[in-house]
């Protein structure tokens, strides 16, 4: 734990990779000068964690390159901008959904160097040297479908579909590190992906099926 939170002074322009944590993220946003007013604090609707980035003092956009779905993409990014925002609003990858913008729901799950992360709680400039994979890229791009996606269709896994991209990414990441997971291991892998429709059984069925067919 000591190592994870070793730096108290957060440098938003650092390229040093670190374990990404909610605390780290918040420190980054504060450092970049996001605002939080009193009225919005009372309603719980403060924008201190909003993913939009933008004009706040000290959050000038700068052009960086990030690797998304195997392609290097050059994009203007504010210092306090989240990866979810960059993906959705600057790179057109709207498959990544924002359900809470607080790292609670998992709808924005992407892989960063093969590890699942909530992209609403990652600052884009921290992933400059990493490989980001979104739901659009798990099948290898060009609209190809991953076995997990195919199985989710066959098992009629999604209901409303809003959490589905996150479930897909969590499932694909699991199979990459564990090609033959048990049902219990699949459940653990999906523990961070809330589904209000309650389609959990079917998501597990699909991922187990995809593992069998891979």
């Amino acid at each position: 734990m000591q190592k994870k939170f070793s730096s108290d002074r957060y440098d938003p322009l650092s390229t040093e990779k670190d374990d990404v944590s909610r605390r780290h993220f918040i420190k980054g946003v504060i450092a970049a000068g996001a605002v939080a007013g009193t009225a919005t604090m009372v309603t719980g609707c403060s924008d201190s964690g909003d993913s939009s980035g933008g004009s706040a003092a000290g959050s000038v956009e700068r052009m960086i390159s990030i690797n998304v779905n195997g392609m290097s993409r050059t994009v203007d990014v504010a210092a306090n901008e989240t990866l979810a925002h960059t993906l959705r609003n600057k790179l057109g990858l709207t498959g990544t959904k924002i359900g809470c913008d607080r790292g609670s729901c998992g709808a924005c799950t992407v892989m960063i160097d093969g590890v699942t992360q909530n992209s609403c709680s990652i600052l884009t400039h921290t992933v400059r040297d990493a490989a980001v994979v979104t739901v659009e890229g798990v099948g290898g791009g060009n609209g190809q479908m991953h076995a997990v996606q195919q199985a989710m269709i066959e098992e009629l896994a999604p209901q409303c579909g809003f959490c589905t991209p996150g479930q897909v990414v969590s499932g694909v990441a699991l199979l990459q590190r564990n090609p033959n997971p048990s049902r219990e291991e699949v459940r653990t892998a999906l523990a961070g992906n809330l589904c209000r429709c309650g389609a959990y059984n079917n998501y597990v069925n699909a991922i187990v099926k995809a593992a069998g067919s891979a």
């Binding site: 719980g44 996606q149 209901q159 309650g198």
Partner: protein
């Protein structure tokens, strides 16, 4: 009939887009010139704005405009306002600002100088009913939907009502809503066993995973709204009224909806707010609603405080029921949950004598609206554990007592003597008991393994799950395809697709050759009910049946007219109409579509029956001349409520040291008539069970009584069930007996599938702990208090905790 499509699995057309991430939800749309809007929300539960100065905000670079209450239609209490200077709820919108970026809009909001005069507020309905207690609205404190659809008025009970009740019983002053069947007092006098308990069911947020974001813009005088809604055509009249334009000038796009559960059924104020802002500043406007805002604006299930007195004969038959419910709403009229709950008690347990009293009280809490199984599911969580208690006290099997009290198809219930279209709850209990192996499991009840103890539960629920009187519309086009125009929304149940198969079934057309038009009013979508109340399956198989039946007649008439013979000589199948005695006399769908366009008039939708709804008539303008157009209103007979019924069974292993438990097994069994779509049904039974687990043990809204602030504005503060909170496998099955009032025998199921599981879990917890909590949600603290013999920290009628 031997159906080819009804009762078979298929892949709905929108599943692939969901798994690929290409499905477009409202927040995924972009529009050239799009700007962003943010709302100024009330920081107090009730206040009057005394001064408002946005000049500094409007002077900021990048700010495009402001929208205030005087620029949008006014809403009289108890309607929920679009914007207001008299917010009656924490988080009620006061004004909105549009800017080039969301960040600029947020910063501009902070620069608005607002002065508020705080007003008295109330969060607990009983406090509002107490003499001199605050009224949430200026116009009063009591209203409500359903049978209690009374004008808002002021109502206070006497101090004596409260004093007599004490802390452990619901005060029961004069009720605005009351009905009686039989002689309740006499029945209690004769009862072998009476139980009389106070209860609370918590308010809970719908918590759809997609917040209700809106994109709106105006083009050529038409108002475009990309919304997140359960419904499609149902949205049209309300949006047209909201924007003061004709039906022809509303374009509504809602191809995907990230969950609604009742809270996105009808047009809602932020849709209008966004469209008014767009109209004012002449730019496309995106409102991204945040999760916290969704808790304020996105719908809350009304909570109940109540008292239920039940009388039974020695065999366990419920002979008397006396139910009093005080419903907690928001600062709006709210739903009829309390009267629906009474209906559920009357139907599911068939008490011979019953009295219902109820009061729906408005409070300064969030917008309250129907949530999955409104009223019936709360009632199930209250009564099902008590049925267990009675069974144990009378020494009767817990399934047997339910079977004894369950209705038959000829049941009449409530003071209205309501009837049902079909009823197979007894069969659902029987099937569930077999699948779950009730006799064997029941023997395991109370079995201990160290600190762990087995609990076994059973529960059931009901919802009126079907409607009638709406329009069906299909077109057969020169491309040879069958187009089914669906005005149903896409809530994620796939019933939009399942019901369209009814049209293909009637016409003997393949599903592969069928195109479902939906999700965008420009397709020309007919009038139908909102996608709520588990009604779509029953309602829209009927509309598609009548439209397809009409198309069949039109094809037969057209073939006879063009090829000779009588219409009755022709059969419709395999995308053509063919003379049954001369196969050379045949016309393909493609030829028929082209011919209908050539003939015009009633053939291609230019002329249509006058009994259609205005929404359908407006929709036809987008369809006329596209092919052979068949449109008809569902005037098939329908008498009685269409009961969707569910019964659930479960087993838990509860750790008496920690109060935690594992759900070892759960079965959820449907009486949904004939099964329309097996995989879709399984989804609903499983999903309902998951949401029911949330209702039973997790979901609640919490408020600070001193300042009226809401403590549950994040998913981590009122967590819906995660995958770790539910069984690895939820087993499902269906009685699969047809409802005689649907052409295909089908009826709905989504809502009771939640109440059955919620009550079965509570039943199992009571079985394991020997305690009847009379409250939802039952949390671990309550279990531990009960097991250790400590008093509960929450008083029996305490709410908002």
């Amino acid at each position: 009939m031997a159906e080819k499509l009804i009762g078979k699995d298929f892949t709905p057309q929108d599943v692939q887009a969901k798994v690929m991430g290409t499905g477009k939800y409202s927040e995924d749309f972009r529009k050239e010139g799009m700007c962003y809007m943010k709302m100024l929300l009330s920081p107090m539960p009730s206040a009057n704005v005394t001064s408002f100065d946005a000049s500094e905000a409007l002077a900021m670079p990048g700010v495009l405009g402001i929208l205030t209450a005087d620029e949008v239609p006014a809403a009289d209490e108890p309607s929920y306002p679009m914007l207001t200077n008299k917010p009656r709820q924490l988080g009620m919108p006061i004004a909105a600002i549009a800017a080039e970026s969301e960040q600029i809009a947020s910063e501009a909001l902070e620069k608005i100088k607002v002065a508020y005069e705080p007003q008295p507020f109330v969060l607990d309905p009983l406090e509002s009913l107490y003499p001199g207690g605050p009224n949430a609205l200026e116009s009063g404190n009591v209203t409500g939907g359903g049978e209690g659809n009374l004008p808002i008025h002021k109502r206070k009970w006497s101090a004596r009502d409260f004093a007599e009740a004490g802390d452990d019983k619901l005060p029961m002053g004069e009720a605005p809503v009351e009905w009686t069947v039989g002689d309740v007092d006499a029945a209690f006098a004769d009862a072998a066993l009476i139980i009389d308990e106070p209860f609370v069911t918590a308010s809970s947020s719908h918590q759809a995973l997609e917040p209700r974001s809106v994109l709106s813009y105006w083009e050529n005088g038409k108002c475009f709204i990309h919304g997140s809604s359960q419904s499609q055509s149902w949205m049209m009249p309300g949006l047209a009224r909201m924007m003061d334009v004709s039906l022809d000038d509303i374009v509504y796009v809602a191809e995907f909806c990230g969950g609604g559960f009742g809270a996105k059924a009808s047009p809602y104020p932020v849709q209008g707010m966004t469209a008014y802002m767009s109209k004012k500043i002449g730019r496309p406007v995106m409102l991204r609603v945040t999760r916290a805002e969704e808790y304020h604006l996105g719908g809350t299930r009304p909570g109940f405080q109540g008292q239920v007195k039940l009388g039974f004969d020695a065999n366990g038959k419920m002979t008397a029921a006396d139910l009093y419910i005080v419903q907690s709403g928001g600062p709006n009229r709210g739903s009829g949950d309390y009267s629906s709950a009474a209906g559920a008690l009357a139907l599911v347990y068939t008490p011979t004598n019953m009295r219902f009293r109820g009061a729906a009280v408005v409070t300064n809490k969030p917008w309250h609206v129907s949530q999955r199984g409104p009223g019936q599911n709360q009632l199930a969580t209250v009564v099902e554990p008590l049925i267990d208690r009675v069974a144990k006290e009378l020494g009767i099997d817990r399934v047997a007592i339910r079977d004894l009290n369950a209705p038959e198809a000829d049941v009449q219930f409530t003071a209205r003597n309501s009837t049902v279209t079909s009823m197979y709850l007894k069969e659902a209990y029987k099937l569930g008991a077999e699948k779950f192996n009730w006799e064997e499991k029941k023997a395991m009840s109370g079995q201990r393994n160290g600190s762990k103890v087995i609990g076994v539960g059973v529960g059931s629920a009901y919802h009126s799950a079907g409607s009638n009187g709406f329009d069906g519309l299909i077109s057969i086009r020169p491309d040879g395809k069958l187009y089914v125009h669906s005005g149903v929304g896409n809530l994620g149940t796939y019933s939009y697709a399942g019901t369209c198969r009814a049209a293909a079934e009637v016409l003997g057309s393949s599903w592969e050759n069928t195109v479902v038009l939906r999700g965008d009013s420009r397709h020309g979508l007919p009038w139908t009910l909102a996608q709520f109340g588990s009604n779509s399956t029953f309602t829209n198989t009927r509309t598609n049946f009548v439209a397809a039946t009409k198309a069949k007649e039109m094809l037969q008439n057209l073939a006879a007219q063009e090829l000779g013979g009588e219409p009755g000589d022709y059969e419709v199948a395999d995308e053509k109409v063919t003379n049954s005695s001369d196969a050379t006399k045949t016309m393909t769908f493609a030829e028929a579509g082209a011919k209908a366009i050539e003939l015009g008039g009633a053939w291609d939708g230019t002329e249509y029956p006058d009994n259609l709804n205005d929404v359908t008539k407006a929709a036809l303008k987008n369809v006329q001349g596209a092919g052979l157009v068949a449109v008809a209103k569902d005037e098939l007979p329908k008498e009685g409520s269409v009961p969707g019924m569910a019964a659930a069974f479960c087993m838990i292993e509860l750790d008496t040291d920690t109060g935690k438990y594992e759900l070892l097994e759960m079965h959820n069994i449907a009486d949904c008539g004939t099964v329309l779509h097996p995989m879709g049904l399984q989804q609903q039974l499983r999903g309902g069970a998951v949401m029911g687990i949330g209702e039973a043990v997790l979901d609640r809204m919490v408020y600070d009584p001193q300042n009226g602030l809401c403590a549950t504005v994040g998913l981590y503060q009122t967590k819906p069930p995660s995958i770790m909170d539910v069984p690895s496998v939820i087993e499902t099955d269906a009685v699969n007996k047809p409802d005689p009032q649907n052409p295909f025998g089908v009826k709905g199921i989504g809502e009771p599938a939640m109440g059955s599981a919620a009550s079965a879990l509570l039943s199992a917890i009571s079985d394991a702990t020997g305690t009847y909590f009379n409250r939802t949600p039952v949390d671990t603290d309550m279990i531990i208090n009960a097991l250790s013999g400590r008093p509960q920290s929450i008083k029996p009628l305490q709410v908002n905790v």
